[in-house]
């Protein structure tokens, strides 16, 4: 199992290094195959580890393997340790499984680009980083992976590096995540100070069990989680990140990296459980995010941005689930979301590809007739997203909503937000679906729609991953149906025992409410955008302006930094440092002229200077002695 864990981690790294070093020796297509192969090898190794783990008793499923001491100072040690347990193996399977599908899809999607090799090197680097994040057996390695996924995300968002918008979006994503990293680092410093170690077991055992200290530690971790998972208030980078190529959005900004915050909460649940206030804050922010993102998604006109806001909203659900104490359901939704959201992005990629890189939905319309297969999978993804039974989203999302009912009054607030979110999801998802696929074909689509590739709607490498994801999005939720069977709960129980469990009645109330509201949302979307029986309402300024978050950050951070820099230069650097030194050099020159006068050739003045000097030296000598 340990060997398999190392293979999983290192196969993508090997691919990234190989593609970088071989340069032009590898053809572009070969680079794509290499990256796909490496991802598949990692997936195979993860399955091997999983099968081994299933064969063992629940108590023996945790395995650790250490290679060498990475860092040490005095008694503080950080080892390069991989932890393979029920939680990390689940993440490994999702990352490598969905990851290999998306990398394979990219072979067709990115085909013909000048710098394909760079793209595949970055994708492999990302897989390595993400795996490090979930496999590391130590909080510092978690932070390392945390930053490395930020780096690969930066590289991939800015992949089209001549486009100013892409470069700016990449920088924004990195800097915003650097804030999260800094917050996390602060809680690690606290843990080092109070426990002297950073390995999970040691930290959980020795961390302060409550009080202000525990609260601050949990707050720092939450800061990192909010930034990485694009939750309010650190969310504004995610919509801009859609500047990256579509497979990147599917892999990093939907299926894996952005859900890392949920993984963090589940992994470090003992630390969060020590700080109830922070846990509630996390759940509350998740609830606010899921509603706010749903509102903004209503008015977006870029196909990828609609899906991006929906991602924010769905991660909000996961936060509600995990932070309200239902870890299993949070992880469950993370998994089904990876299937259906990757599916939606990849299907959107086929549309964008077919329309010569057009992403504006106002130019689309009536694409269903030309792209029937894409329409089908997109519909599956949409139904799963809304949570219509029996598609996957239904099982996981309803379980989260039901579990909020187990959390008293605060739970009712969460429950209400989740229901509003369910309605909004129905509206914005099917607004997108109807606008893109229904009605008359738009003039733009008529003019620009690609000729199909043979009988397929895109290259083979793009069509089959989408098909597989379509199947997973349809049936993936059957893994667990809380009232009847719950293998996932049993699997994760030893790592993260949930403390919010819904009764069957609560499950029923939640399901009925969610499904009804979701269907109502679809109906509203149908009357406005499908059947066009209702006029489309005037857009709300606040939604259009995305609630002014960007303007807020511009005003409170970027501009002050620029102003402070300019001010320091003008008020401190120039006068104090340059001014004084210029004065000094001038004084030096004048002084040397003055000093030259001392050399007047008169023996009496030399003798005077000599005796004075001797006297001063004698005094100094006597004093110090």
């Amino acid at each position: 199992m340990n060997t398999a864990a190392w293979v999983t981690l290192l196969a993508p790294l090997a691919s990234a290094v190989a593609i970088t070093l071989t340069g032009n020796l590898l053809s572009r297509r070969q680079a794509g195959f290499l990256a796909t192969g490496a991802a598949l090898v990692a997936f195979g190794a993860a399955i091997t580890a999983f099968v081994t783990m299933v064969g063992k008793d629940a108590e023996e499923r945790i395995a650790q393997t250490t290679s060498w001491t990475w860092l040490s100072a005095g008694s503080f040690h950080v080892n390069l340790t991989l932890l393979t347990d029920q939680l990390s193996i689940m993440m490994m399977l999702i990352i490598t499984g969905v990851g290999s599908l998306i990398v394979a899809y990219s072979v067709g999607y990115i085909d013909g680009d000048d710098e394909e090799r760079r793209f595949f090197a970055y994708m492999s680097l990302f897989l390595f980083s993400m795996l490090l994040l979930v496999q590391g057996g130590d909080l510092l390695l978690l932070l390392a992976g945390w930053g490395m996924v930020g780096l690969s995300s930066y590289l991939l968002i800015g992949y089209h590096q001549h486009r100013a918008a892409a470069v700016a979006a990449a920088k924004k994503a990195f800097v915003m995540n650097a804030f999260g990293d800094a917050a996390m680092a602060m809680s690690l410093f606290l843990l080092v100070q109070h426990t002297g170690r950073l390995d999970y077991a040691g930290v959980f055992e020795n961390a302060p069990g409550g009080g202000a200290l525990a609260t601050v530690i949990a707050l720092g971790l939450l800061g990192g989680a909010l930034a990485k998972s694009a939750q309010i208030p650190l969310h504004t980078w995610l919509p801009d990140a859609m500047e990256g190529p579509t497979p990147v959005s599917a892999l990093i900004h939907a299926a894996t990296m952005v859900t890392a915050g949920v993984y963090l909460i589940v992994r470090c649940h003992p630390l969060f459980e020590n700080a109830k206030a922070v846990e509630n804050l996390a759940a509350g922010l998740g609830a606010v995010t899921l509603v706010m993102a749903g509102l903004i998604a209503l008015v977006q006109t870029d196909i990828k941005r609609v899906i991006a806001y929906s991602t924010m909203s769905q991660i909000g659900y996961m936060f509600v689930g995990a932070a309200a104490g239902s870890y299993v359901n949070g992880m469950f939704h993370l998994m089904t979301h990876a299937f259906f959201k990757a599916l939606l992005f990849l299907a959107a990629g086929i549309i964008i590809h077919a329309l010569h890189d057009e992403q504006d939905i106002r130019k689309m319309g009536g694409l269903g007739k030309k792209l029937p297969h894409t329409r089908t999978v997109f519909l599956i993804g949409s139904l799963a997203l809304v949570g219509v039974p029996p598609f996957s989203g239904f099982f996981s999302k309803d379980a989260i909503i039901a579990s909020t009912l187990d959390r008293g009054t605060f739970g009712l607030f969460l429950f209400g937000a989740c229901l509003i979110g369910a309605f909004l999801t129905g509206v914005y998802t099917f607004r997108l679906y109807f606008i893109v696929f229904h009605g008359e074909q738009s003039a733009f689509a008529k003019e620009h729609l690609h000729e199909p590739h043979g009988r397929l709607e895109g290259p083979l490498s793009m069509v089959w991953p989408v098909t597989i994801l379509g199947v997973l999005a349809a049936v993936g939720g059957l893994v667990q149906f809380a009232p009847v069977w719950h293998p996932l709960t049993r699997w994760l129980e030893p790592i993260a025992p949930s403390f919010a469990e819904a009764t069957n009645t609560q499950e029923f109330i939640a399901s009925a409410g969610t499904v009804a509201l979701g269907l109502l949302g679809i109906y509203v979307a149908w009357t406005m955008f499908g059947a066009k029986t209702r006029p489309v309402p005037q857009p709300v300024a606040a939604f259009e302006a995305k609630f002014w978050w960007d303007e807020l950050y511009d005003a409170i951070f970027y501009r002050p930094a620029v102003a402070a820099s300019a001010l320091l230069r003008r008020l401190v650097e120039v006068p104090l440092v340059f001014g004084s030194i210029n004065e000094l050099t001038r004084g030096f020159r004048i002084g040397s002229v003055e000093l030259a006068r001392v050399q007047n050739g008169l023996v009496r003045s030399y003798a005077f200077a000599l005796t004075t000097g001797l006297a001063v030296l004698t005094v100094i000598f006597l004093v110090t002695k």
């Binding site: 860092l71 990449a170 800097v175 800094a182 917050a183 680092a185 340059f578």
Partner: protein, 487 residues
């Protein structure tokens, strides 16, 4: 041979310098011989690493010969674990800089390469000297070649830059000399291993100001922007990568180790200056208009960070600071050499005229991207490890220091990304022509080994943190002294 190793390390480059000065080599030969000597020096250092006993914290490869017996001064050299790493940084950076100068070609080559070798030898001497007068001699010997290298081979504003540099450093050196003399007379010996610790705050300040100027620390950095901008790139590389570390080393070896009580007394002041420098340097780097401006001000910030680690006065801080000295040295040398390579192609370092260089130049893009990522301390890099230890160390004196440090790290991300994208990305700049070539093989041969070292350190930062102080020895003594002071 072990007893002679340190002496060999000091004097091999100096003998090389004499050879280059005195033999009528052609321009090309002078560079070739100097590079060869610099590489031999690296090989000698590798032998030293192999023979070093990392388990103990005691002085090794020690050699002592009587000099001024009456004064209590002797030729006494040797190495601790951390001096070994700093000497390693010096000889490797020296080799890279010499090789780059050879490739780029410099006028009056014999004088130039002689000075470069002499400089390398002097810095090694600074890190190895265990006698204060000897330390002072090497410290001054290190400055003289720098004055000449900047003043003669610098850019258009070299004269002003040199004068500022001279005025600042001479002022600092005189203070240090006075402090050395008084301290030596008080102790009846100039030998660092025999002198007792002292509680004299004025003496501490004499040393501390000299090192603060040399590092530089805010607000003693008036010489820095001009010196870094006007020097030839490889000299700027040594200045920021290596010479600044001599100051940080001085803080650790002399100011803290010999003056624990004053170090404890002034700790808050120095931590404050270091923190201000860190934020101030990072903010100015974020708006600097050219490549060298960014590197110069970021160096100011990084020296603040290293000083934070040293004056955290705990094991986390010391180990982090030593690691970060090596990291910043390698990163800064690589960045300045890369700046030189970009400037050769575009004749400017102004961001307004640059841009789009990644297209068609994959080697330059990859190399600059990797070094830039190291510079912003991307997690899992050795710089990340160093920053983490330093901030974790200083955190123990109050969360505020670490919080401000963490914010400065965000600023670090902002200025590094700005540098990368302004050179490599966006539309092609007006100074960038299509004819500007990708990195040549010779340039890659110089820069890639530096990057490989950084990558190896990233995979195993414990190579330094676990092998700098050993058991007992210097740091154990410092810790004991500090505990005594705290009581």
């Amino acid at each position: 041979m072990n007893t002679w190793l340190t002496t060999f390390l000091i004097f091999l480059p100096m003998v090389g310098a004499a050879l280059v000065w005195l033999t009528p080599f052609s321009k090309h030969m002078a560079g070739a011989v100097a590079t060869l000597v610099a590489l031999l020096e690296v090989a000698l250092w590798v032998i030293a690493v192999e023979r070093f006993n990392f388990a103990t914290g005691d002085l090794q490869f020690e050699q002592q010969h009587a000099w001024f017996r009456d004064l209590g001064s002797s030729y006494h050299v040797g190495q601790f674990g951390f001096s070994l790493w700093l000497i390693g940084l010096t000889v490797i950076a020296g080799a890279a800089a010499t090789a780059y100068a050879w490739w780029a070609g410099r006028e009056r080559a014999r004088a130039y390469f002689g000075l470069m070798l002499f400089l390398t030898g002097s810095v090694v001497g600074v890190f190895a000297a265990q006698d204060l007068l000897l330390f002072y001699a090497f410290f001054e010997a290190m400055l003289i070649p720098l004055y000449v290298l900047i003043g003669v081979w610098g850019g258009a504003g070299r004269l002003g830059a040199t004068i500022k540099f001279v005025v600042y450093t001479v002022a600092g050196s005189l203070l240090m000399l006075a402090a050395i003399i008084v301290y030596g007379l008080q102790q009846n010996t100039f030998d660092l291993t025999q002198a007792m610790t002292s509680g004299n705050r004025w003496l501490f300040l004499g040393f501390a100001i000299a090192f603060a100027v040399k590092a530089p620390l805010f607000p003693f950095h008036g010489w820095l922007p001009d010196a870094y901008r006007e020097s030839p790139p490889e000299v700027a590389a040594l200045l920021s990568g290596v010479i600044s570390k001599a100051a940080a080393y001085g803080f650790l070896r002399i100011a803290i180790a010999q003056f624990p009580e004053p170090a404890h007394h002034f700790r808050t002041l120095i931590l404050a200056l270091a923190t201000i420098g860190l934020v101030y340097g990072s903010l100015l780097a974020f708006r600097a208009p050219d490549i060298r401006g960014v590197i110069a001000y970021s160096s100011l910030g990084q020296m603040g960070l290293i000083t934070l680690g040293l004056f955290a006065t705990n094991e986390l801080g010391y180990d982090g600071a030593v690691l970060q000295m090596v990291n910043h040295g390698l990163i800064s040398v690589s960045l300045f050499l890369l700046a030189g390579m970009v400037e050769r192609r575009t004749a400017t370092g102004e961001f307004a005229l640059l841009g789009g260089m990644a297209k068609g130049r994959p080697a330059l893009a990859t190399v600059l991207m990797i070094v830039g990522m190291m510079a912003l301390a991307v997690p899992l890099s050795s710089a990340f490890a160093g920053e983490f230890l330093i901030l974790a160390g200083v955190f123990q004196h109050g969360w505020g220091w670490a919080a401000v440090g963490a914010i400065a790290i965000v600023l670090g991300a902002m200025y590094s990304l700005r540098l990368i994208s302004a050179v490599l990305h966006r539309e092609q700049g007006s100074a960038v022509s299509d004819a500007a070539l990708d990195l040549r093989r010779a340039e890659l041969a110089i820069i890639v080994p530096l990057i490989l070292l950084l990558l190896v350190l990233s995979a195993w930062p414990d190579a330094i943190t676990g092998h700098s102080f050993g058991h007992g020895g210097l740091v154990a003594g410092i810790q004991a002294a500090f505990q005594a002071v705290a009581k």
